[in-house]
Symmetry: C2
Subunit: 586 residues, 2 copies
């Protein structure tokens, strides 16, 4: 089945998927075809074959495709009555296409469009190129094989999926290849191992990472940074358990929403518990534990805690997709009048945090102001006046802050509008990381209250916010963005002191202590290895500074500085080194 394409390159990509099907049918005339849609940078097509398609065949398939493209084949569209179309594909023994036609029929379709290129014709909405000469064979590459269930249903047939990429120019393909090499080098699973940040255990299970001391230091440094920034704005830490009776989620409405993703928990009795997939419902219960007056508001909670979601085993990937998700979470309960200053606080924390990572720079971020679809205002819960005020406030903040922002209509949640922060990493990939979401619904569901100036009961507004979001996903992004070479403030070890021989160990220890007293994470490396080897080890684990000490350094009370990023930086005093590091962190 074909999806709608809009831009020129996507039309070419989709036409190339048809060429892929032609090539595979040439090599496997018995192949049953699944679907062949466009994806980022390219396309795929699913096949069922008697003889399995092997990795080795991919080169051959690519060659065949290039040959087909060079034949200047026309693409022709015809419309068929749906029953005629079904008969055609039945005759061709294409059972998956027949099933798709049946699906379309049950949806009320009466005619079907078919695209024919040479002797191959495919059920397809199009559009397509007129002729394969529009496709640049030099910019084509078949990339990989994978297994995929028909209709993504684990109970259906497993097909073979062939992925490919195609661009307008050979240069773009070269760039793509270069990006792939770079992405492989930066793969957070590889760097995580090299830097000894985290591990997985078969006994514990997939998607359940175990963080080593260095990885925990990295996590804690991020969390400390966020919590310190937030504490300035009056956020206070709270602590909740990881399970709850399901009644909590029946009240919040999440029981229905999360469904299969919820991990269910059973003890010895009939009581049914669930592992929390988010923290907001628990936090409402702390708010609700005492009477609140307008003078107590805003109430601001923060907590870094794990939530659990039963992601499918096949979708788990390093830290990018896990089942135990550490959320840097926070919730504000406030009056409608306080929305502005509270969102302003959150935005300041986001700006300060991402600036410390040098990620909040022009061209590398944008902000989505997600508001109601003007045509679907009725579908949104809560008071329309609150919505109006909130949407206006969010845009005003984005404007006042000078953000690169877009108003995105229809992207608000049903419970409130939001600001989402998108960042572009060193490989040009875009990630939605930070967010501030207003919520007019949950406080009401839980019957939260405060007494206003007139002694009347009012419902507070709730603001959900994430700075780093899921720590695991955030780590996978920044490990790859920095290729493990974190900014000084974030590096698990900030300086390693290397004595040129064991005669200088005492002085080395002395330097380590001075750095530690100044608040830096410093270590001594006096292993019985050569100086060169020890420098290479420190460089490999991306230690920002290697401080080499020998006879001369003792005499002068100095260190010979080797920087991860700039190499040899000369000899300076210990105090100068401390000042230099302090300056780099501020």
């Amino acid at each position: 089945m074909c999806s709608n394409q809009t831009n020129e390159i996507d039309v070419k990509r989709h036409s190339t998927a048809h060429v892929l099907a032609m090539a595979v049918l040439d090599l496997h005339p018995d192949a049953k075809l699944g679907i062949g849609p466009v994806i980022d940078d390219g396309f795929y097509y699913d096949f069922e074959t008697k003889e399995p398609i092997t990795e080795d065949e991919l080169k051959k398939i690519e060659k065949k495709m290039k040959k087909l493209i060079s034949q200047n084949i026309d693409f022709e569209k015809t419309e068929l009555d749906i029953d005629e179309a079904k008969e055609k594909f039945e005759n061709e023994n294409q059972k998956y296409k027949v099933e798709l036609i049946d699906d379309l029929k049950s949806e009320g379709e009466e005619t079907i469009s078919i695209y024919t290129s040479k002797d191959f014709s495919d059920l397809c909405r199009g559009p397509h190129v007129k002729n394969t000469k529009e496709i640049n064979a030099k910019a084509l590459k078949i990339t990989r094989l994978a297994g995929a269930y028909w209709k993504s249903d684990e109970d259906r047939e497993q097909l073979t999926r062939i992925y490919g990429v195609i661009f307008e120019t050979k240069e773009e393909l070269d760039e793509y290849n270069q990006r792939l090499i770079e992405a492989k080098k930066r793969d957070h699973r590889k760097i995580g191992k090299e830097l000894d940040l985290f591990t997985f255990s078969d006994l514990v299970g997939a998607g359940l990472p175990l963080f080593t001391p260095k990885g925990t230091l990295l996590r804690d440094t991020i969390v400390d940074k966020i919590q310190t920034l937030q504490a300035k704005h009056g956020y206070e830490k709270v602590t909740i358990p990881h399970i709850t009776k399901k009644e909590l989620y029946e009240t919040s409405g999440h029981w229905e929403k999360f469904g299969d993703e919820l991990f269910k928990v059973k003890g010895q009795t009939d009581q049914e518990f669930v592992m929390k997939p988010m923290n907001c419902p628990h936090h409402t219960q702390i708010y609700a534990s005492t009477q609140r007056s307008y003078r107590d508001l805003p109430v601001r909670y923060m907590e870094t805690t794990m939530v659990y979601r039963d992601e499918q085993a096949g979708e788990l990937l390093g830290l990018s997709r896990v089942r135990a998700i550490s959320q840097d979470d926070g919730h504000v309960f406030c009056t409608p009048q306080q929305i502005e200053s509270e969102v302003q606080n959150i935005v300041s924390v986001i700006r300060e945090f991402y600036t410390s990572l040098d990620m909040f720079t022009e061209g590398n971020y944008w902000v989505s102001v997600s508001v109601r679809d003007p045509k679907e205002v009725d579908k949104c819960l809560g008071n329309p006046k609150d919505w109006d005020l909130a949407e206006k406030t969010l845009e005003e903040i984005a404007k006042k802050e000078g953000f690169n922002y877009k108003i995105v209509e229809g992207e608000a949640a049903f419970y409130g509008p939001k600001l989402d922060f998108m960042f572009t990493d060193a490989l040009g990939r875009e990630w939605q990381l930070a967010t501030a979401q207003l919520d007019f619904v949950m406080p009401e569901r839980f019957g939260l209250e405060y007494t206003d100036e007139n002694g009347d009961k009012q419902t507070p507004v709730m603001i959900h916010r994430a700075i780093a979001g899921s720590l695991e996903r955030f780590l996978s992004v920044i490990i790859e963005h920095f290729a493990g070479a974190f900014p000084l403030w974030l590096s698990p070890v900030q300086a390693v002191v290397i004595p040129v021989s064991d005669k200088f160990d005492d002085y080395g220890k002395n330097v380590v202590e001075k750095l530690q007293q100044a608040g830096f994470r410093a270590e001594l490396d006096n292993d019985s290895e050569t100086l060169g080897k020890r420098i290479r080890v420190a460089q490999k684990v991306k230690t920002p500074y290697m401080l080499i000490v020998g006879e001369k350094e003792i005499t002068d009370n100095t260190v010979a500085v080797r920087s991860r990023d700039n190499g040899d930086e000369g000899v300076i005093s210990i105090d100068e080194m401390i000042a230099k590091m302090q300056e780099e962190i501020i």
Copy 2:
């Protein structure tokens, strides 16, 4: 059925339980009797009656008991053939006694002893007083009613349990009553509410506490203290998820041991997960994630993380017994030669931590050195030579430290000997809080290794240690021990600054900032309440220092100090106040 008594007062307590049965039979002639054993300070007896025994009746029962005691009734022992005994109780319609006789018969008993007092006779091993004149009726009190399942089996009949206390003298009963009043005042659930430390929610569930900002601050302060002390000894933080495949516990052996207490977790697939009831198996997997050499040992992990145990709903009590247990956990992996210095480190941390609470004082603690039962050495797993060395090392450390210690034979775990630290609280109750346990078994079960000096593979020794243990239980103990008036270092708010009127708010804020800059947790209370009211509020939440500021204090740059413990302490400069608090903390 009667249990063995050893000391005089327990003999009297048990005889008084018989008197209780006599009194109840007098008021409820149809009563079926369960068991009536001795407990701390007294006794109980279980009954099944047609008309329920009411709270109001307890006074009447106590009065009747006192009357019976005053009748100088003899206790007489007779021995009966077991079948004769059964017939006797069958005739008396005492079905529970008959069941107990059947149980004894199936265990091979042939004769049964019966104690008779007046027209009441009870199946009982004794011993008893000769005559009720040995019992001091003035020192008797019937305390409460409760429900209890026959044989503690939820599927059996529910009986009514009547509790009483009896002492040698009236003075002891008065002291007991006084202790009860004190315990009620100090109840951590009551103080927890007054100080706003934690809450429970019906929607979340029983045994699942939610910690408010103040309670979280209290937890974090304890954890920070322990982790700072441990970091000095090379402990490093790690982070693990709260669930695991059950295979982890099958390997460790805990699957069998924990059984019903384990919370089982299920997602969408057949994969069975469990919530961790302890952390050691997870930590072994971090150790096992890389090759270790003797030069890398000891490896020391610490982590404060929640474990989950399905305690029975009826046993849950405030923070004392919960289902979500925050463990201040830590594990050391070392060579047998390193046991001494590692246990020494742990002991130093325990001493320093409990000294900071003023709980490590002569007469208020003792140390149990738990070793093998010399008769059952074969039952212990691991190398006997390692055991010998370890037991000797533990005793030597206890001796060298000048601890008040006892060698307790047979108290070692099957996997290794241990040191347990017992502390007595302000109400005279003893708590086992800290522990250091050697483990010769788990490292082998998980195939943990290190390479020794000769390049051979060796199995490390594991040391489990707890300083505060379960944070929830620890909090329940210290909240009651201190009656909420924590030492300065631990108080969630250390000083509250109270301006006498709003004219002095700015100066008040200035004082708060100076205290915060010096690292103290200080707050301003400028609520529109009278000075007296604000002082009472601060006193009620046990704030160590109330600093009152007005005209005179601004002029002199001072604060008027009111201490929680000593009342008015006069006027001193802000710098003096900071110095005073710093001194109190060190």
